[in-house]
Symmetry: C2
Subunit: 905 residues, 2 copies
């Protein structure tokens, strides 16, 4: 053991620096950095994270050589401070703080004033000339040490403290007289004795080592373990311990303590933002007993300290190239910095500050792009609650944040009601057990969606995101009444027509009507607001245009309607990666024809119905092509099982049973229902996800694909004849063996060639396939001989690779995540070890057969930043996501390209 384990820092001189977070933790590294660049940081030393591991491995012992090293550093601190640890005349006091590489809930809190005991407290009194101050420090130490190290519930101390204030009839802590503080200290010590059987340690070195040990032990407290598991943080990182010379914010009215941001973390405005307390120590700010002042008031109350703080934090921003979140203490008018780190901020603030920092010349474009979490852009694209109103409303429940945005409306339980109420001018939130394709019109008429079951890829979630409707799904706490007139939640009943508000960005449900504000960016995109008049729109587009300079991955949209396509294009989509033809089938005037087609008993009858569908589909495609202005449009042939277009089996059974049991039904009606039921039964499946869908349908009923291909190429020829560029890509879903693709491709190519000959025009087109079942990935070399492009359908691929339906799995999936069986939800982020392995294999095998094979992704993962990183790494050509995720994808694609460039990935 000859390594260095303890790192000293003092002004202009530090053993560490900001890049040493692995061994010094975040806090320690930044203390060293600040000290090193000459900022006023109280001197001290950091015990490295490696000691934490040594401590934990050796049965909770600090190795003797490390102990020696600590004592040597303590000596150095004594010399520097010209004080002595444990001295009755001039005692050295220190703070002890934990500090891991990543900040983590549940880790040990700060202990201040360590080094005080019954004797040194008098030394401090003497030195400071303020015995009340010294006693206040001592009682704080016993309380913090008792709580944090000895694990005596904090409220026991608080009770004593409160009782004493009451007894003395005192309101402000600072008014407590010495006598009262002495009594409190005595009672605290008695409490410690009672709870631990030991006296509060009078040996200051014992205090120090107990505190250090407590920090290390807290690494394995349950909250920290869970947090690490959920955030993929390795258990062997360990935490560092920072021991630092005390400075006192509670040393009278010219002392203070506070926290702040270099810019407003909500808006990004360039202003010192934060709060402070005069004559207080750190925990007073948190405790909330006294209301802190806004930081800007420091300017008037302590102008010089404010000036220093402003200067230092401006320097810190410049030095760190980012917004800083800092802690400081002012002792008798002198400013000390106690912490600095990158400041957490909203999406609004992230975008604005990133652009501003570039404008101010503090950072370059590449750095700016790395400063914004792609997902945070969501907040800019959706309505938000009016924060001032929010506090007045009761939170009812939490569910999955399935589709971002805030919405408020009256509760309805049926799709038809949603439409009817909307027609009467009422805002509604559609609440259902789970939505189905039958609910589409109601979903469209609603302001937001709330479901009791279903996950991030459930119907409500997918369609919600698709439509840009806020949605909270899988909200298990709500229990729907069987008459569809109310729901219950935690004993409360919410009736049809009651107001609720949902925030789909965070998955929260509130009782009552909370006003929302629309997204400015969307207002601009929709032409309802002038681009020039929206600052955030300007910043947003500025940032994304920088992203486009660096990314290599293409970004397309999943869009089924011309409206979707228009928005996607405005957001920067470079094509459509997935147009789901079946979504077009659900429209009101078409559904009866679809039903007729499905119920047909002969191919002849089926063809007749299809002939009537053809003009609708042709029009859809024509408009899609027009909107995309020459960019490629990938159209998927019919995918879902046919029974999705028919009424549910059990509903028909119940209807029939009711009519029969009531004795009221006429014979013809019963017969009709029975016939319908028979067909529905014949089409119904135990596991529709694994049933007759995708290309299996197209192989069973080639005439459907023929109609779709006809619609596509008639539309394409028309556009081409109008002299416009057009690139249709026809995508066959659910292919598992190349023969399936051969079958479907032949139909499509035959139709295409015939129509191009008929219209005497050439349209460059390609036929490709989804890779969405494991067998397709495994045999991708064979499939690529026929497929001109691949698009990963990662929803289905994840379902089949795991053998889990996300919808059905909602219950155990959340159990898996909370119990650490899974680290991530594979339906949200590509499961790299499993699904990703298959994807990488498919890319490799596919390009073996066809070197220039174009490969994209169109599952929900196409809008997930971490998945986008993965897509980039396996050298896919593009990702396709919903219109509203396009900005996220553009930014994420830029980030991974930059990371790769900087070899940081």
């Amino acid at each position: 053991m000859s390594e260095k384990h303890v790192y000293f820092f003092e002004k202009d001189k530090a053993d560490g620096n900001k890049d040493m977070k692995d061994i010094l933790g975040g806090k320690g590294a930044n203390l060293a950095e600040m000290a090193g660049i000459g900022l006023p940081v109280p001197p001290g030393f950091t015990i490295s994270t490696e000691v934490c591991n040594l401590f934990l491995e050796s049965g909770h012992k600090i190795p003797p050589d490390v102990e020696e090293e600590i004592l040597a550093n303590l000596k150095k601190l004594e010399d520097l401070a010209k004080q002595k640890f444990g001295s009755e005349d001039n005692p050295l006091l220190v703070s002890v703080r934990s500090g891991a590489k990543f900040s983590m809930p549940g880790m040990m809190d700060t202990i201040l004033n360590l080094g005080l005991n019954d004797k040194t407290v008098e030394g401090l009194a003497k030195r400071s000339g303020d015995r009340r101050f010294a006693l206040d420090c001592y009682r704080r130490l016993i309380q913090m040490f008792g709580d944090v190290v000895l694990e005596i519930p904090k409220k026991k101390f608080e009770a004593i403290f409160r009782a004493k204030k009451q007894e003395k009839n005192i309101l402000n802590d600072s008014e407590l007289p010495e006598k009262a503080l002495e009594e409190i200290i005595a009672e605290y010590k008695a409490l410690v004795k009672k709870k631990t059987g030991m006296d509060f340690p009078q040996d200051v070195k014992k205090q120090l080592f107990m505190a250090i040990s407590a920090v290390f032990k807290s690494w394995y407290n349950p909250r920290a373990i869970t947090y690490r598991r959920l955030n993929n943080i390795p258990d062997d990182l360990g935490t560092a311990v920072n021991v630092q010379l005390m400075v006192f914010g509670n040393f009278g009215e010219s002392s203070a303590t506070g926290v702040g941001f270099t810019r407003n973390p909500a808006t990004g405005e360039k202003e010192l933002f934060g709060e402070y307390l005069i004559n207080a120590q750190g925990e007073d700010v948190v405790a909330g007993v006294r209301t802190p002042f806004p930081l800007k008031e420091l300017k008037t109350s302590m102008p010089e300290a404010y000036r220093q703080l402003h200067e230092i934090t401006t320097h810190l921003e410049k030095h760190y190239h980012d917004i800083q979140d800092f802690e400081f203490t002012i002792q008798e008018g002198k400013l000390y910095m106690l912490q600095t780190r990158s400041g957490k901020r909203t999406g609004f603030a992230a975008v604005k500050s990133a652009v501003d920092l570039v404008k101010e010349g503090l950072i370059n474009k590449e750095e700016a792009l790395m400063l914004v979490e792609p997902d945070a852009l969501n907040q800019l694209l959706h309505p938000v609650f009016d924060q001032k109103e929010l506090v007045n409303h009761e939170k009812l429940a939490e569910g999955l944040a399935a589709s971002p945005g805030a919405a408020t409306g009256r509760v309805v339980f049926k799709a038809n009601d949603a439409v009817a109420w909307k027609e009467k001018g009422k805002d509604v939130i559609l609440v259902r057990e789970e939505t189905s394709p039958d609910d589409i019109h109601g979903m469209s008429a609603s302001k937001g969606l709330l479901t009791a079951t279903g996950g991030m890829t459930s119907h409500a979630a997918v369609v919600g995101r698709q439509m840009g409707k806020p949605a909270v799904v899988g909200c298990g706490a709500i229990v729907l009444g069987s008459d569809q007139k109310y729901f219950q939640v935690n004993g409360k009943t919410v009736k049809e027509g009651d107001w609720i508000s949902i925030d789909g960005s965070i998955g929260e449900v509130f009782l009552g009507k909370i006003p929302t504000k629309p997204s400015e960016i969307i207002q601009v995109i929709r032409g309802k607001l002038n681009a020039e008049s929206s600052e955030i729109y300007q910043d947003f587009t500025q940032l994304l245009s920088w992203a486009d300079e660096f990314r290599s991955l293409g970004v397309r949209a999943n869009a089924d309607t011309p409206e979707d396509a228009r928005i996607a294009f405005a957001f920067g989509a470079e094509g459509i990666g997935l147009a789901r033809t079946e979504h077009m089938f659900f429209e009101k005037e078409r559904l009866p024809i679809i039903k007729e087609m499905i119920l047909s008993k002969t191919e002849e009858a089926r063809r007749q119905a299809l002939t009537r569908l053809l003009p609708f589909q042709r029009k859809d495609f024509y408009e899609l092509f027009k909107e995309m202005k020459g960019h490629p449009v990938t159209i998927r042939t019919l995918d879902p099982p046919l029974h999705e277009f028919l009424p549910k089996k059990e509903d028909l059974m119940v209807e029939l049973a009711e009519i029969k049991a009531s004795g009221k039904g006429d014979k013809k009606k019963i017969e009709e229902l029975e016939n319908l039921l028979e067909r529905v039964r014949a089409l119904s499946e135990f596991n529709p996800m694994l049933g007759n869908r995708g290309c299996r349908l197209g192989i069973s009923y080639p005439e459907i694909i023929e109609m779709q291909a006809t619609a596509i190429f008639e539309a394409a020829c028309q556009v081409a004849l109008e002299g416009e560029k057009i690139v249709p890509e026809i995508m066959v879903p659910l292919v598992g063996s190349v023969q399936e693709l051969v079958h479907q491709k032949k139909i499509i190519v035959d139709v295409a060639e015939n129509l191009m000959e008929k219209y005497k025009v050439q349209v460059p087109y390609s036929v490709g396939t989804m890779i969405e079942i494991p067998r397709a990935a495994i045999t991708a070399d064979e499939i690529a001989k026929e497929a001109e492009f691949f698009s990963f359908g990662t929803n289905d691929l994840t379902q089949t690779t795991f053998g889990i339906s996300r919808d059905d799995g909602a219950g155990f999936i959340s159990h898996y995540l909370t119990h650490g069986i899974w680290k991530d939800d594979p339906f949200g982020t590509v499961d790299i070890e499993g699904v990703g392995e298959l994807m990488a294999l498919a890319v490799k095998k596919g390009r073996q057969s066809r070197q220039d094979l174009k490969i994209g992704i169109c599952g929900v993962h196409g809008g997930d930043p971490r998945s986008i990183y993965f897509c980039h790494k396996i050298k896919m050509n593009y990702v396709s996501c919903s219109a509203y995720q396009i900005p996220i994808a553009r930014l994420a694609a830029a980030q991974i390209a930059l990371k790769e460039k900087n070899q940081l990935s």
Copy 2:
């Protein structure tokens, strides 16, 4: 083009031999072989399969050099026969026959008497001294040539022929006078002219080349294409053509033609078996106008020819080391061999003859093992219809041959009825849309099962095989009446109580009662027949004991009950590879406890129900262990979704609707039903196959696994304390990530260690997992760090790899198979390119982490010979299959080991 394309054969001298099937086809190779070893084969030559490909590639032309080679061989044949092709005095006549490597339906038939025309027919008349005979040959040629080469429907010729017989009032063809034959020939020629616009070719070389071309073209007729696709025969094999000197079975009463087997192909008895016709040519035997005589009568009618035939065919058997299927012609008392090949036989004949041939010293044990198709053993283990009775019954429909054996009984439609009727002593066949776990008692009470839907891995199929009940499933032609009192099939109505008979070995359904005979082997296994008194049992066990000498793959049984285990052990199982604990749950007295457990609202209540289940499970395991006498027993923890144990959602909904609509239900009953429905709804899943099942259940409800582990180890300790050997292997189902296994393993190991300590006894045990979802295969290296063994669950693995549920897929799967999208049903035989790839990967990765990892298979594929070959190739340790498939697996395992040894694989 310098290669040899035509191969001549004559007595004692042949260019080819039996091992040249690739280029000479089966027929040609065997003709060469027979000629070469000096048997009386009419000389001739074979045009190789390569010429077929040349012909097809060059736009249906025979290359000039090949044409020359053919003519040179024809010349050689002329010289040998001392006749001349096309000669008016002494004409050479030949037969032309197709002959591919594998015999194939739809390929071109034989043309006899080629070389006759209006002139040569007189030459033949002169030479033979029998003008009637010559004319008969000529009219046959025109008919065969017209049918086969010119594609004029055969029935047109037959109509002319029949009319002439009628006109002349003649019964036997051979009585037709010259005059009538002349008229027939004239009318035949007129027909040819009318249909083709050309005269019947008088140029004999033109005849020959047209016939050869017709053979080659027939390679691509649709039936042949389909057959090849379904049987995995490459398209580029091509067919050979055999041109051979004619010998005449129609040359008077001392001439004859016939076909036969060296042993009885139904029983394996050593006797010449077949039939012959006197004064006839080959097609007469097939045409069925005259009834042929049994071959043994030849002994009296032509003793010398019979003696020769006996001698020659005995020689052939010895030479080929197998039963031969031969064709012969006798011309004026002289015997000619026209074909020999391996004889098709029943399972009974295959086993008996294989053993007999060894006993007779004709072959060795290894050869004997290769002579029996493993699947053919099925016939020996199941009841068969009395063949004499079968012909009197109408075939109603065909379905999938899901579980072998013949059964007859009265139709019932409900499981409870099956039980009730059985109790009254009636034999029943349970007919259902599809069975479910609720039907188990009724299935057990039935003689056989018939379902309208479902595939080879549907519930009815799996349970049928498991119980050894004949089952025909997926019989789409039957339509069940909604009142469950009848079914309809092709316009016929079959009512409850009507007799039907089903043959699950071939998937046929008959109307009426057809007597069946039980399997002797099963009678012996069940102790109802003395082993010594059953010859077939002796042969069967003899063959399998030889198999055991050569195989390296272990064979285990899937067995859930002590009775299953006993039978499996008697069949030679070396352990249990899969004991499904949930099958034990469905028993009458247990199901209510299971339901109670599932409906429990607290863990506490659930544990109480489990405590009551524990003794049942412990008893099950105790008995299983005892039956297996120290062989390993693999027990799978609970697998199916819990709602399988509850009533169906739609049934409850209908019941509730009926009660409410009728206005009769009392409030309490309604409330009860509503509560039950609520719980069923909560547990119901859209895709149960992808839902909360397998280890996901065990993770959600650890107490269930704890109970099961307790039952296993209490039973194991008890057996161990009784001094018996025991090897429990606990298998965790549906693992997709190693963390799942870690979770379940901990529970099992904790219980095991505690109980072994409690009972003070050591039981060697292991904990492993199923590999049944793609992610498990992909991450097998990680999983093997925890799993002590793997068992492939290929049913689920196939479902998830393809994204297809076999049950739901029944419709399109059969469409896929008949349309050649799939060559094989992956639910019957392992899909080597897809599923097999994952299996091989799992074996490789698994053994990377754990070198001695034991790997088996327990899906239905474990009983499929081709899949067993694959398991052997990827170096698995054992296969596990149903008790009745154990013999098949033993034999298949021996065959693949032998193939490998002989480097034939």
